[in-house]
């Protein structure tokens, strides 16, 4: 049981504190309800570039990193389709430095043309390193734009194309900040070796004086239901063929989320997943196989992907993969199998609770989803999944017309 207290400042900032006295450290997490889905389709990659620029100093602090390091702190951040998240761990006696740094950049970050140009370069190198210069690196770029036609999930957080990043101007960054980074769009959590009352006092002192800003009201186009199977084939300089299949699912807060999460674990979690046992171990058709849900807040995707063994035809491999899914549709699932997945989930929850930073992040995410107390109750949602729910859910979502398929073929193989 994770005990916490919650407080809302006048400017709308939500503050959550959880004391854990077993550590000498404190963790601070700030989640902004702003991600790449809030971008203009013609200027993608902006939310992530902004995250980089948040380290370029702010109104009263010329540089972010040095004072934090001087206080023995460590930090990082990530941006995804839904959120931007900044986090710090720091010896608890120096925690006020974290308040000072984070509040000043929520107040007024110092974006300049020069810094923007340099960070655009850094991000372009990141784009090349992670998406263009890796075998299979561009898969999600292709798969997203196949599965989504109107929703902003159709582009990846790094940006749809390098040319988008190149044309971002300093004013665009400022505008995106003003519209999306208001205190009322943020959630601050503190965990670790800190007294709740002291944490609320510090939050008031440092964040309380930031005036509320009006932010953009989110109005995203809903993705229309997919009614026909989609398929795309690409050829790349990679050593083996790979298969990716994506089915549309409901939102993170939907009733089916837990069943689907459990189902993908049953298919490919651990070394004993169904797909692994059949397609890798028994039939040797794939060299690796994976299944997961994207955990997006808006309706996301369930994805099964695998690398095909050399000498195996991708169609044969795909047919066998579909057979495994069809068996689950027919109700061929055992209670032991479901119990197994639930037990794995329990271990990972307990493990995650041993870490103050994980706790800090989870508190913020659950608060954004509706209620921070889900950090304690979510495990029940998994516990309550039944065999019947699994079968029904597979039948509901894993249909051919709801599926987008990517055949990612090797041009190194002679056919």
């Amino acid at each position: 049981m994770i005990e916490f207290s919650k407080f809302i400042l006048d400017n709308g900032l939500r503050v959550i504190v959880h004391e854990d006295r077993s550590t000498p450290l404190a963790a601070m997490n700030i989640l902004y309800d702003a991600g790449s889905k809030d971008e203009d389709p013609g200027l993608t990659g902006l939310a992530h570039l902004l995250e980089h620029l948040m380290y370029g100093g702010s109104a009263n602090i010329p540089e972010y990193d040095t004072p934090l390091q001087l206080a023995g702190g460590d930090n990082n951040a990530f941006t995804n389709n839904d959120i931007t998240n900044y986090y710090i761990t720091i010896p608890s006696e120096n925690v006020e430095t974290a308040f000072w740094l984070e509040s000043d950049r929520m107040l007024d970050p110092d974006f300049t043309q020069k810094k923007t140009e340099i960070q655009k370069n850094v991000v372009i190198e990141e784009f090349r390193q992670r998406y263009l210069n890796q075998p299979y690196g561009d898969v999600m770029l292709i798969l997203r734009s196949l599965a989504y036609t109107v929703h902003p999930y159709r582009w990846p957080t790094i940006g749809r194309d390098i040319s988008h990043i190149e044309k971002i101007k300093n004013e665009d960054v400022r505008r995106f900040f003003n519209m999306n980074y208001a205190p009322s769009k943020a959630i601050l959590s503190l965990t670790g070796n800190i007294d709740s009352n002291k944490a609320f006092d510090l939050a008031n002192r440092w964040f309380g004086s930031i005036s509320g800003r009006t932010s953009k009201v989110r109005n995203l186009p809903a993705e229309p239901q997919q009614v026909k199977a989609r398929e795309i084939t690409v050829r790349r300089n990679v050593p083996s063929d790979a298969l990716y299949k994506a089915w549309h699912i409901g939102p993170r807060t939907g009733d089916d989320f837990y069943t689907l999460d459990l189902l993908t674990d049953l298919l490919a979690g651990g070394e004993s997943g169904r797909l692994f046992n059949r397609l890798v171990r028994e039939l040797n058709l794939f060299s690796e196989i994976n299944a997961y849900i994207t955990s997006d807040f808006d309706p996301g995707l369930a994805i099964i992907s695998g690398k095909i063994m050399r000498g195996t035809d991708i169609k044969t491999a795909e047919n066998e993969l579909i057979k495994v899914v069809e068996e689950i549709k027919d109700g061929k699932v055992s209670d032991t199998e479901i119990e197994k997945v639930k037990n794995r989930y329990e271990t990972s929850t307990v493990l995650s609770n041993t870490n103050i930073l994980h706790k800090a992040m989870n508190l913020c995410i659950y608060e954004l989803l509706g209620n921070a107390d889900m950090i304690n109750t979510d495990v029940l949602n998994y516990r309550n999944v039944t065999k019947k729910m699994v079968t029904e859910t597979v039948n509901k979502y894993f249909t051919p017309e709801n599926c987008s398929t990517l055949h990612y073929l090797s041009d190194q193989l002679t056919r």
Binding site: T23, T66, E125, Y136
Partner: protein, 424 residues
């Protein structure tokens, strides 16, 4: 009115508490059991560390394949049964092989400790190395190898290790496709029976530890005795290449990987803590000189860092980055320039203060919670050291002088001795 924001709140210099008790028990079979009792949740991690790393192998892939095959079928379980059982009890298991050690790692809820230990015995001492599973594993590994060789980072790193340590030692030898055909179940059985002995391994358990833990270890492991006779002869020897600079062209890439470094001292050497501090200043943290110059001021790369790594028979330091191909020469020049600054100019006190506090904070993180403490313990145990290594490190961090840093930069970063590998 916002003036209070101009000044950083007061900062204290922190000290990591390295005096964490680690209890050592020698089990009846000669295996050492180390216990680190801490934490808030009823969960534990046990790590079996075996001195059966790549350094012990007579041919490529032998140590790693032996380790990976441990869970592919045992006396009482088929591969499928074993993995299903682990998953059913929610036991997270991980096998891994490093240059000097190999091991088995398990996380489990304490109510499943008996099952975890029973399965650990199967994995460590009762593997049967079935032919069919080996064939599949080698196919999978070969597929993975081909993908990894498509990445410029790996092409550059593999060449770097070969240049630094030579082709006659597993630290340096590059794996080739045909190596995947040479491994047989007999070779694995021999390697296993030679090295996976209680006397050649230790168990480190961390987390919430219950009173009956030692008793449970005795119950499950007591039956497996076996003294370890260290093999005296080895054909492996270390010798770096005379060619300092290698450029590997890979058409179709948009970035090149750069690796610059050389062999160096390891944790047992008295200069090692100082070298770690020097490395931090150069490229060991986000505020490092390489990051500030090459990423933050020039935008040539997404990331650049340097590291110092201790091995049992050697050590190495390396600067790593990936950069657009048009920036290769510019980035390499800046790397050498930063090294020579450290050799010629004493580090200013402001910068040194930041590094001292950053590293002190980092050491607090290294002792934060049972699992971090266990990792820190393993990192010294492997070298025959104890936590006093971290005390020495902490003293260095607090007291090292700019002159000493300059001395180390001149002694250990002689530019003419560095290997420079680029791939892309």
């Amino acid at each position: 009115m916002d003036n209070f924001r101009k000044k950083q709140p007061p900062v204290k210099s922190v000290n990591a508490t390295t005096g964490v008790p680690v209890e050592r028990i020698v089990l009846n079979n000669g295996m050492s059991l180390y216990m680190i009792n801490a934490g808030t949740e009823d969960i534990a991690k046990v790590e079996f560390v075996v001195k059966a790393g790549m350094a012990k192998e007579s041919m490529p892939l032998l140590a790693g394949t032996t380790n990976m095959m441990l869970s592919e079928g045992t006396q009482h379980y088929t591969a499928e049964e074993l993995n299903s059982t682990l998953d059913y009890y929610g036991i997270f298991q991980n096998l891994s092989t490093d240059r000097d050690t190999a091991g088995l790692n398990m996380f489990f809820l304490n109510r499943h400790i008996e099952k975890a230990l029973e399965l650990a015995v199967e994995i460590l001492f009762l593997p049967v190395f079935p032919e069919k599973e080996l064939t599949l594993l080698m196919k999978k590994r070969l597929a993975g190898y081909r993908i990894s060789r498509g990445k410029v980072q790996n092409i550059a790193s593999d060449q770097f290790y070969e240049s630094v340590f030579g082709n006659n030692h597993p630290y340096g030898k590059q794996i080739k496709e045909q190596d995947f055909e040479a491994i047989t179940t007999d070779l694995l059985r021999d390697f296993h029976s030679e090295y996976y002995k209680p006397g050649n391994m230790a168990a480190i358990i961390s987390g919430k530890i219950h009173k009956n833990t030692v008793q449970l270890f005795e119950k499950h492991f007591g039956g497996f005795a076996g003294q370890f006779q260290p093999a005296g002869n080895s054909m492996n020897f270390l010798k770096g290449s005379d060619i300092r600079k290698i450029r590997i062209e890979k058409p179709g890439t948009v970035q090149a990987a750069i690796r610059i470094g050389s062999a160096t001292i390891n944790k047992r050497h008295p200069d090692y803590p100082g070298l770690k501090i020097l490395n931090t200043i150069l490229g060991g943290y986000f505020g490092s000189r390489l990051m500030k110059n090459i990423r933050e001021n020039k935008g040539y790369t997404y990331s650049i860092y340097s590291s110092v790594t201790s091995l049992d028979q050697a050590g190495y330091k390396v600067i790593s980055t990936e950069t657009g191909k048009q920036y290769i020469n510019l980035a390499v020049d800046e790397i050498y320039r930063e090294i020579s600054f450290l050799q010629k100019e004493p580090v200013k006190n402001d910068e040194l203060e930041v590094v001292r506090n950053y590293m002190s904070g980092d050491m607090v993180r290294m002792f934060d919670g049972p699992f971090a403490i266990a990792d820190s313990f393993k990192a010294v145990w492997e070298f025959g050291l104890d936590f006093s290594y971290f005390d020495r490190m902490l003293i260095s961090v607090k007291t090292i002088t700019p002159e000493e840093i300059m001395r180390l930069a001149n002694l250990y970063y002689n530019i003419d001795d560095l290997y420079e590998i680029t791939a892309g």
